[in-house]
Symmetry: C2
Subunit: 125 residues, 2 copies
DNA sequence: CTCCTTGCGCAACCTTTGGTTGCGTACAAC
DNA sequence: GTTGTACGCAACCAAAGGTTGCGCAAGGAG
C-alpha cells in the first residue's frame, strides 16, 4: 500500500467529478435537469425511483462539485445544470476513454509486431 | 417514486459496467493492468493505496462484469484485461458524454434562437 | 524430505455512502 | 387563520469499500 503514481493521460485527475457522475441516479438526474426546464427535489423524485430526500442528497453531491446550482424561490428550490462544469466532466470522460482506447490499440500493435518478429527469426516455430 | 424512463442515447444502458469503472481504484487497476504485463492481487496492491484484500475484492467486481479475467498458475493468480469488454465500456463512456454534449449545444442554440426572436419582434425590450 | 517463505482465500469487523421514515417549519393559497 | 405543500434536519438501515487476522497450499532453500 503505497505508490499510487499519476500515470500521464490517464486517471485520477478529478476523482470528485468522476464519482459524482459515476452514480446512475445522479446521471439520470443530470439528464432530467437537461431535458426538462431544470427542476426541484420534489419534481425530480417523481421521475426517479427514489425518495425526495435521496434526491436532495444527490443534489447536494452534484452541487458540491459544481455540476448544478440552486436558486431558492419562495418555498421552492430550483436546480439547474452548470453547463461549463458538465462540459468539463464530459471532457474527462472522453479523456479516460481515449487513453484506454489508445492502450488497447498499442497493445494490439505490439503483439502483432512481436508475432512478425518471431515469424522472421524462427519461421517454423 | 416511479417513472424512471430510458431516455434515448442517454444513461442507464449498462449501469453495471459504469459502476465498475466508476470507482477510482478500479480505474487505476485497469490502467496498471494495461500498462504492465497484467498482474496479481499482490503486485497491484503494491502500486495502489489499498491492501491486497481490497484489490482482490475490486478484481472480483471487475471480473463479474467481464472486464478482467484470471488465470491461476501455481500459487499465483494472474489477472489481465478483457480488451473487448473494455472497448465496450469506452464506447459507453463516450456515448453518454456525447449525449450530454449534444444537449448542451442544443440548449445553447435554442437560447440564442429565442434571443434572436425576441430581438426581432421586440427590438427595444 | 523438511522447513520456511509467500501468495491467496475466508471471515470478522469498521466506516462511508445511498436510501428510508418521521417530524418540524416556512411559505402560499384559500 | 387554517390548510396544504415543499423543504430541511435527524435517526436509523443496508450495502459497499476497506482493514486486520488467520489458516492453507505451493515453491524454493537447507
Amino acid at each position: 500500500m503505497n505508490a499510487a503514481r499519476n500515470a500521464p493521460g490517464s486517471v485520477a485527475v478529478d476523482d470528485e467529478l468522476w464519482s459524482a457522475v459515476g452514480d446512475p441516479i445522479r446521471r439520470r438526474m443530470l439528464d432530467l435537469l437537461l431535458t426538462g426546464d431544470g427542476g426541484t427535489a420534489t419534481t425530480l423524485s417523481e421521475q426517479l425511483p427514489v425518495t425526495r430526500q435521496a434526491v436532495a442528497k444527490h443534489l447536494g453531491v452534484l452541487g458540491r462539485v459544481g455540476l448544478v446550482h440552486d436558486t431558492p424561490s419562495g418555498r421552492e428550490r430550483r436546480y439547474e445544470v452548470d453547463e461549463a462544469q458538465l462540459a468539463r466532466a464530459v471532457a474527462q470522460l472522453s479523456s479516460v476513454g481515449a487513453a484506454w482506447d489508445a492502450r488497447l490499440h498499442r497493445i494490439k500493435r505490439i503483439a502483432e509486431a512481436i508475432q512478425h518478429d518471431r515469424d522472421e527469426h524462427d519461421p517454423d516455430d
